[in-house]
Assembly symmetry: C2
Homo-oligomer: 112 residues x 2
Amino acid sequence: MARARTTADAFNAIAEPHRREILTLLKGRERVVSDIADAMGMNQPAVSKHLRVLREVGLVRVHPEGKQRRYGLDARGLEPVHGWTGGFEEYWSESLERLNTYVKKRQREEER
Amino acid sequence: MARARTTADAFNAIAEPHRREILTLLKGRERVVSDIADAMGMNQPAVSKHLRVLREVGLVRVHPEGKQRRYGLDARGLEPVHGWTGGFEEYWSESLERLNTYVKKRQREEER
DNA sequence: TTGACATTTGCCTATATGGGCATATGATCC
DNA sequence: GGATCATATGCCCATATAGGCAAATGTCAA
């Protein structure tokens, strides 16, 4: 079996650094394809392909405007990723880790 | 150019559902390979390969114990993912979005 | 219609899986 | 050393890119 499709879900879509860069670029405002390509120093077809992936996974939306196509952010699809990783927060937050240690210690003491 | 290696970073490593499942399984306690394989209903070699990826990206650690190898979580590598997605929180949190709108409105008012 | 500009899509290549199966490597016990 | 259990690796296949380049499609203006 091959690797999962990049359009399978947001987890796969954002695994590509250039796609994350695009999403970041779209944060403040909507942008036209050539604008994005310039900002990234990439040729336009490559950008179009990444935009297609992001579109298929629902992280961006297109707003045709004459011959141009403005792309806008629809980051709701990132919530599952944020939520999933958030479930591990205690493992990297030191203060939370201390709290956790404390709680476990208390639990052990209460068991006596 | 091909897709980035799954061991390139946590973003790529957690794009695979089975690997996310493994990390979740390791949340409470450390587990031995066969234990993980059983819990996931997967054969052992496949699990070993996923563990290798997670190990190379630093999300798990091995603790040899006789002929067994206990794997433990080291989720600190997930923080960048959580942090990056967190930068988009306002786009899916409606209350936050309202707050954002309010803040921007205030800013506009202050500019007068 | 024709021309010009903006984007998308098709084609091709190098690369990287993910899982099944068989086999190698490690560790423990006799 | 030899047997046995637990894991890791090697090999093979089907599949999926990511990006470069050329060509197709869409849109608007004269």
